[in-house]
């Protein structure tokens, strides 16, 4: 009821007073929640330890610096593995995501009653499990190593790529599809001529974006034995070799920045 009469004049307000009250109440609850949480955190923190945090940070940085550059010789291979896990995992995930997405999109699904819910379940379950958890599960199933990492990355990517892709499919221009249908093309041809060209930019963008995320995620998969540079990080940390840790962190940083740069370049070319 955004139009009201006040003193005889009609005035317009974005919300009526009931809605306004609900919004104020929401803010009140929110602030109370923050307050309560802070109290609980504060009660469980040993402030004596927190008090010398700046000193501890200074000590750790001193031990990290300078990074142990000779250690780099042992990092090239795991770094390469990490890139491979991310790239092959993304590739595998994307290949599986395409059919799942077209089964999930309202305008391309073969059956709204049966296939679509199934595809949705696949997408949701893939997304609701973190890559690290997938990796732990897979290390037990296929054993430690790169393969577990690749599959873990792929499983997590299906949900991400599939969800964004099926939304892109649902947003296409229907008349272009109709025009191809009207020529007497078979369903697979309608898909490849009427739909594929329309979703291509979105598809490329989504896949690159996921590859980018996967590079970051695959740097920690080694922590649970799924291959890559994470293994070196965990072993260096456990022997308190801080100068190796700092070198690993720098190597990861450079890799991530480089991958973001590459994906930004490619994406701007495609769109």
């Amino acid at each position: 009821m955004p139009l009201m009469k006040r003193n005889g004049a009609v005035c317009w307000v974005p919300r009526d007073s009931k809605k306004q009250l609900v919004i104020w109440f929401g803010w009140f609850i929110g602030i109370m929640l923050v307050f309560l949480c802070w109290q609980s955190i504060s009660a469980k923190t040993m402030w004596v330890f927190a008090a010398d945090a700046p000193e501890q940070l200074r000590l750790m940085l001193m031990r990290m610096f300078p990074p142990k550059l000779e250690y780099m010789d042992k990092l090239w291979k795991p770094l390469w593995d990490t890139l491979n896990i991310a790239t092959l995992g993304t590739l595998l995930g994307v290949i599986i995501a395409v059919p799942v997405a077209s089964a999930a999109a309202l305008n391309t699904t073969p059956s709204k009653r049966l296939v679509r819910p199934l595809a949705m379940v696949i997408l949701v379950s893939s997304r609701s499990v973190n890559s690290l958890i997938w990796a732990i599960l897979l290390v037990t199933i296929v054993g430690p190593g790169i393969l577990a990492g690749i599959i873990a990355i792929a499983l997590r990517s299906i949900g991400f790529v599939g969800k964004l892709l099926y939304e892109a499919i649902e947003e296409i221009d229907k008349t272009q599809v109709e025009a191809v249908t009207a020529t007497g093309a078979a369903p697979a041809q309608v898909f490849s001529y009427g739909i594929v060209p329309q979703i291509m930019p979105a598809f490329a963008g989504i896949s690159l974006y996921r590859w980018d995320i996967n590079i970051r995620e695959s740097t920690i998969l080694g922590y649970v034995g799924a291959g890559g540079i994470g293994l070196n990080l965990s072993s260096s940390l456990s022997i308190l070799a801080w100068s190796q840790v700092s070198l690993i962190l720098i190597a990861v940083l450079i890799t991530v920045v480089a991958s973001e740069w590459i994906s930004a370049r490619v994406r701007s070319r495609l769109i």
């Binding site: 221009d173 008349t175 272009q176 109709e178 025009a179 191809v180 249908t181 009207a182 020529t183 007497g184 093309a185 078979a186 697979a188 041809q189 490849s192 001529y193 009427g194 060209p197 329309q198 291509m200 930019p201």
Partner: protein, 276 residues
Amino acid sequence: MLILENLIMKYGSGDLALNGVSLRFDKGEIVALIGPSGAGKSTLIRCVNRLVEPTSGSIDVNGKNIASLKGTELRRARRKIGMIFQEYALVERLTVMENILSGRLGYMGFWKSWFRKFSSGDVAKALNLLERVGLSEHFDKRADALSGGQRQRVGIARALLQEPDLLLVDEPTASLDPKTARQIMRLIKELCSERNLLAVINLHDVGLAKMFSDRIIGLRKGRVVFDDTPDELNDTILTEIYGEEDWSGSADKKKVSAQVREHKHMESMDYALAND
């Protein structure tokens, strides 16, 4: 060659878009379909190639009842029916050549079409048509880089590459300027008479309909209310199709000239006061 019998179309929303349409069309006819917005013109031609499913009635093309076809049979029937759309409906991110050649999809297998392996015969025909519609130098451009008139020419070439028996045209000129609209209509008319094609054309512009068609069908609220040669279309019939309106525009002209006179009068008064 196209016979519609008691065609009824009721949309899920409850709109009765076609309320018992029976019509008969012959080879080589250019038929204009006119009527107010919502009369069911688009619905009618979309029923013919089954882009929408008619609720009941029969659609007979060359002795085959389209209304009952399914799957492959339906696709075979569709490739003999060309369609041209108001908003061109080109695949925007494909090139002109790919768009035109997609008229051949119904005649080839999936992998050949995926890898764009069109037969040399098809390519030659496409190039011919491209020249015929005057777009030879644009063959490698993407469809979204063309103007409206050029896009519609691509749409026409795509439909004709199907080598259809009949052409369904839904408001081909609604988004074009008057000159381009006439050129496009002339092109469609010429191409159809060269091939002795039946064309059913939805038009909003009664002038264009009179100028380019052999026969005009007036549709109102899903029923045929007029079906005759363009010469028979007069103001009384236009009122019957579209509802009450001043067709010759004479009343408006009178009103306007009265306003102009009034204005002149005021000006002279201003002048008189200023010089007082």
